[in-house]
């Protein structure tokens, strides 16, 4: 499998979340930057250990909420005061009646932005990724904890990096081919 074209990187498997976390910290301390960690559940502090700072999801929420709210209020305001003013018994349109739809669409706008912002940030959908080439990677959604160091990392060296990963108490270190294994 390793001979089939270019390599994406090296994948190390750990047996516990704690070992993965320590492995990530060690790899970062060693100076590796193109490091990814995979786990079957959210692990406190793992993303931060990878140097991940802000996920910008709340910014998406704010923008989505403003677009939804201002857009809906503006639409209603245009409708009742410019397009089709209704004067019922001398009662001209008054803003409190426009609040419920504005509120609902603010929430909806924010929710849509959060959901699609999450997908966009994560680069999903992406049905194929080189890490799926490893048969044992199926355990990453189950009970396995993985760490990958990619070839594009300036520090990457096929032998030195492998030795470094093996020194972390990993269960196994494997090459990840870049192309889809057919």
């Amino acid at each position: 499998m390793q001979d089939s074209g270019p390599t994406y990187g090296l994948m190390a498997q750990f047996s516990t979340p704690q070992m993965l976390l320590e492995g990530v910290r060690a790899a970062r301390a060693e100076g590796y930057v193109c490091v990814d960690a995979y786990s079957p559940m959210h692990i406190e502090g793992l993303a931060e250990a990878l140097g991940f700072q802000k996920d910008h999801i709340s910014m998406f929420a704010l923008v989505g909420g403003i677009v939804g709210g201002v857009g809906t209020f503006g639409l209603q305001w245009y409708s009742v005061s410019l397009a089709y003013p209704l004067n019922i018994g001398g009662r001209t349109p008054f803003w409190p009646g426009l609040v419920p739809a504005t509120f609902e669409m603010t929430v909806l706008g924010a929710a849509l932005a959060i959901f699609f912002g999450m997908l966009f940030g994560n680069g999903l959908p992406k049905l194929f990724h080189p890490v799926f080439n490893l048969p044992e990677f199926a355990r990453a959604s189950h009970d396995g904890f993985f760490l990958s160091i990619q070839c594009r990392d300036p520090h990457f060296d096929a032998h030195a990096t492998r030795r470094f990963l093996e020194g972390l108490g990993t269960m196994k270190v494997t090459d990840v081919p870049e192309a889809e294994a057919l």
Partner: protein, 474 residues
């Protein structure tokens, strides 16, 4: 998936020895049994990938399929003949249709709410019930949303509720609660779907990686969108989950408040009351919690999920039901008090007519089901017996249906002038659509438990991580 959440409570639960024998509910860990990461995934994904155990699923599926056919068949006949096939008349222009609508939307209220509120308040026990509660929300909401459409005289024009460019210079009446309803249901349905799917993503990936057949692999592979459990992905997913939960809670309150306003803005005795929005929200939580309880007890039995849904979950859910029931009982009292205090003869007459008029049996049955029966939940023995809880929760939902029927029909059937008084009697089509909608809900739910994991595997793993500590979880 939930980021910082559940940390406090889960660790508190694991620190306290499980041996503390007395009634302290925190003596029971959220996740019981001798579980590992492997056993959690196996147990929950096998339900989906190897098919539900036993013949009950097949029987239930066929019965609910028949009722689904009844539901859509009745709607088809309704569209053909018109709303005259129901028992509606002047003055009772709303009856089963809107009763069903309010009942279903109330059931829909609590699923996402339970999940979101327990997530925000870091209640670790919420993780086990959130997935199927959210599914309950989506299905009940989809059914609820059909009733306002089918109750229209010209249902094919329902899209006139939406503002869209048209040559008729047609705009929605922005000050009408019915228009607010349209936006509220739309927002709630889409938010609930996204909230649900966001939590499902990692579990769909587990199913993809566990799939036995090529078709399962493709089906779950496409739905999982290529989720690979990367740490940064988990981080974004956790933030998104937390933010959506934060949005869901006020949204739930607003949606059912708008349903309350549908009534409160009408100048009809028995409806025209400022208490309606909060009163409806309390009723919605109450019936939704009860439905979640019914489903929890049944699923726990059907799939032997006692490790995941244990006495502590049922006990906590029962306490929530009891608390909401007390708020609701207080609202009933206030409703009667305000009628008396208003000194309005029509309001007083409506209140008395509910208790002593032709629909008095409905009123007293609902008081029995909604106010009296839930008081049994004060007893911790009741809160720990699943079968008693099942019957209590079913009684509550029957009572809540009767409550909406009572609120709607008793206010309408005695108009201001005695010459305009009338009675509502349901026809066979009223019953067919009510029973059919319950069958359709069951049908959707049976498909859900057959094709998707009914408890979040990712959240259970995280719970295990907190209970066992990161060094030992494997």
């Amino acid at each position: 998936m939930p980021s910082v959440t559940s940390n406090l409570l889960a660790s508190a639960a694991s620190v306290q020895p499980a041996a503390a024998p007395t009634r302290g509910e925190h003596s029971t860990p959220v996740l019981q049994g001798d579980h590992s990461l492997t056993s959690i995934s196996d147990k929950l994904s096998d339900i989906v990938l190897y098919g539900p155990t036993g013949r009950w699923w097949g029987v239930a599926f066929w019965v609910s399929s028949a009722l689904t056919v009844l539901f859509f068949g009745s709607i088809a006949y309704l569209f053909y003949k018109g709303v005259g096939i129901w028992g509606l008349n002047e003055p009772v222009v709303w009856a089963f249709d809107i009763t069903n609508y309010v009942w279903w939307i109330a059931i829909a209220m609590s699923g996402t709410f339970i999940s979101a509120a327990l997530h925000l308040t870091r209640q670790a026990w919420g993780a086990s019930i959130s997935r199927f509660a959210e599914a309950m929300t989506i299905f009940a909401l989809a059914i609820a949303g059909m009733f306002p459409i089918i109750h229209l005289g010209r249902p094919w024009f329902f899209y006139w509720l939406a503002p869209y460019p048209n040559v008729m210079s047609l705009w929605p009446q922005w000050r009408s609660p019915l228009v607010w309803d349209f936006f509220a249901i739309l927002a709630y349905l889409l938010l609930s779907l996204m909230f649900w799917y966001l939590g499902l993503l990692p579990d769909l990936a587990t199913l993809r990686d566990h799939a036995r057949t090529r078709s399962q692999q493709i089906f779950y592979g496409v739905l999982a969108l290529g989720w690979r459990g990367e740490a940064r992905h988990w981080h974004r997913q956790g933030s998104a989950h937390l933010l959506l939960a934060g949005l869901a809670v006020p949204l739930v309150v607003s949606v059912h408040s708008v349903v309350g306003l549908d009534f409160a803005t009408g100048n009809t005795p028995g409806w025209h009351s400022t208490i309606f929005p909060p009163f409806f929200v309390a009723g919605a939580m109450f019936s939704g919690f009860a439905m979640a309880m019914t489903i929890a007890v049944l699923l726990r039995k059907a799939f032997d999920l006692n490790d995941f849904i244990n006495e502590r979950h049922l006990d906590n859910l029962a306490k929530l039901i009891l608390a909401m029931g007390l708020v609701l009982a207080y609202s009933y009292m206030m409703d009667i008090f305000m009628a008396w205090y208003s000194a309005d003869p029509y309001e007083i007459y409506t209140a008395v007519n509910r208790m002593r008029g032709p629909y008095a049996p409905v009123y007293w049955t609902l008081i029995l089901c909604v106010v009296i029966i839930p008081q049994t939940l004060w007893s911790s023995r009741v809160r720990r017996s699943p079968w008693v809880l099942l019957w209590v929760s079913v009684a509550i939902n029957i009572g809540m249906w009767l409550e909406r029927f009572m609120l709607i029909v008793t206010s309408l059937h005695r108009d201001f002038l005695p010459s305009a008084w009338g009675m509502f009697y349901p026809t066979i089509w009223d019953w067919a659509i009510l029973i059919g909608s319950i069958g359709f809900f069951a049908w959707l739910f049976l498909l859900f438990i057959r094709f998707l994991p009914l408890i979040s595997m990712a959240e259970m793993r995280e719970l295990l991580l907190h209970q066992q500590g990161p060094r030992h979880a494997r």
